[in-house]
Symmetry: C2
Subunit: 324 residues, 2 copies
């Protein structure tokens, strides 16, 4: 939950004057989203979201993110559509920060994931991947396998403060995962394209049983498509006691395959991809946990939650573990 930057009256009025979206009716900070400041904005023409990009998002990446969202929305993937100002520009500046207005998406993110959520999730993820193939610009995954050793190094000496033996356990996990990581180029490469890379339940809205939208593309990048499935297996298929729910995984994978069938090599790589996804979130959460600024507005997520998931995937022999 976060509003890091509040927006003054005059600044907001001047900003809105650059758009053709009517007059201001309401403006409230939204207590969701960890990286940026988000506001729900109502004008005489409708509802919108105003986002101020805070320091964790690189300014130079923003045109790529906004371009991807515009591309996906045009291709029928329901996601926030960046609005252009009168001059045709969607990326502007407000209160000294990059800022953009996007369309408002109806729906509610599921606080408790049910099996019925997982098939539509898989379908939408595959649609996002297929639609993304038409978006040519690339963005490297800053939190991909090359980042994991340097990221661990930032927390390694204090990992034992979080749990006894966590440091050596992470060393071993990295040593197992990195050599087994699938290639993204060359003859054995798995399919590569635009991935969301952070598709947790709080980034997916539902209206009843229907998936009504996907938000928060600010970790999106160009990487192995099936890695995104690995993220979702972590984010959607564990029960609160960390039991893996294979019924949810099967529904997710069936939904995905109904839109884009997995290659055999992708199927075979699911365990290591899920391991890598768990490790990526474990490492950033461990860093955030050990480096909480005093007076932080956001409570960091427990890295040990992700450790339990990582252990499950490390024990998975093959894709049968996920119901395939």
């Amino acid at each position: 939950m976060a509003v890091y930057t509040d927006v003054g009256d005059d600044a907001l009025a001047a900003f809105l004057a650059e758009y053709d979206i009517g007059d201001l009716v309401a403006f409230r900070g939204i207590a969701e989203g960890v990286e940026n400041s988000n506001f729900s904005l109502r004008t005489t023409t409708g509802d919108f979201i105003l986002t101020l990009y805070e320091k964790r998002v690189e300014r130079r990446d923003l045109p790529w993110f906004l371009g991807l969202m515009r591309h996906l929305a045009a291709a029928g993937v329901t996601c926030p559509l960046p609005l252009a100002g009168r001059d045709g520009e969607a990326l502007r500046s407000l209160c000294g920060r990059p800022a953009a207005i996007t369309s408002f998406l109806p729906g509610v993110w599921p606080r408790r994931v049910r099996v019925e959520h997982c098939r539509p999730l898989g379908e939408t993820l595959a649609r996002l991947h297929v639609a993304g193939l038409g978006y040519a610009p690339r963005r490297e995954n800053a939190l991909g396998p090359d980042a994991w050793l340097p990221l661990l190094a930032l927390s390694r000496d204090r990992a034992g403060d979080v749990q006894d033996g966590l440091g050596p356990e992470l060393d071993a996990a990295l040593a197992a995962i990195l050599p087994a990581w699938p290639a993204a180029t060359g003859p054995d490469a798995l399919p590569v394209g635009q991935i969301h890379a952070d598709l947790f339940p709080d980034n997916v809205f539902f209206l009843g049983r229907e998936l009504s939208g996907v938000i928060d593309f600010y970790f999106a990048c160009t990487d192995l498509l099936a890695y995104d499935i690995g993220v979702c297996l972590n984010a959607w298929c564990f029960e609160p006691g960390w039991e893996f729910n294979v019924t949810k995984a099967r529904a997710l994978l069936a939904g995905y395959a109904s839109v884009r069938p997995l290659l055999d090599a992708e199927r075979a790589a699911l365990p290591v991809l899920a391991q890598g996804a768990a490790l990526r979130f474990l490492l950033t959460r461990l860093f955030d946990w050990l480096h909480q600024p005093p007076g932080a507005l956001v409570t960091p997520k427990d890295p040990l939650d992700t450790l339990r998931r990582l252990r499950f995937h490390l024990a998975a022999k093959d894709a049968h573990a996920y119901g395939l």
Copy 2:
């Protein structure tokens, strides 16, 4: 900014089923409001606010607050209107907390107060006071003069940590204000009624120059009407460098008097009422400042900001200081 309690899918669905307000369309936490958890709620019939009352609000006071809001809304004061469920009850329970749905008010609270805001503010405050006279139930002011000595005692020994000499300065202020405090009963009593008691800019919405609503009645109580003016003089009439803006004060008082003329005794009491209002906010902010729980979601407000205001009012000889 705060959402202290998140609401699960099933709990929300069951809660909404108790109302006749259509089907869920959107649900987002609001990053405003320090005491309670607030959500913006959209259904197929419109927009609403869902509030979960957290521990700082006494459960036994809630019927009084909701009754006051219902009364004021019926009398034409634009404030959140509590919605009754199918059983006629507005106060319900959700996630183990008292909860209510109220109407959504359009408008934006002014981040920077301008003179044009102050006259409508005064008018609305007086309308609220006049309308409140028709609401008979009483609620004592838990943060009135009787509370100030005990409140100071909770922070007195550490007041010097905030600023050298703050403890003795507050002792002296209390010793000056308490004996001069106007009577609320007896032959010399000032008019008493329902007051908002926390009418800061973030509780008042404007649409352009028009005041579109007053929110957050959870400090409202039965007390001296003119004390509410004292609160507003503190909250609306100082510039960022703590200069008192007498033009704003004059506009506020003129707006008020255009609806309910002040008695001479109320006018004469303005300095001590403004002193008391400054002291009340200083004391609660001082307490919050010295008793921040680790990992708090809310950054406490600086008590010294209010001290500067208190000093101004202590130096005010009479109502001329406020432009009267």
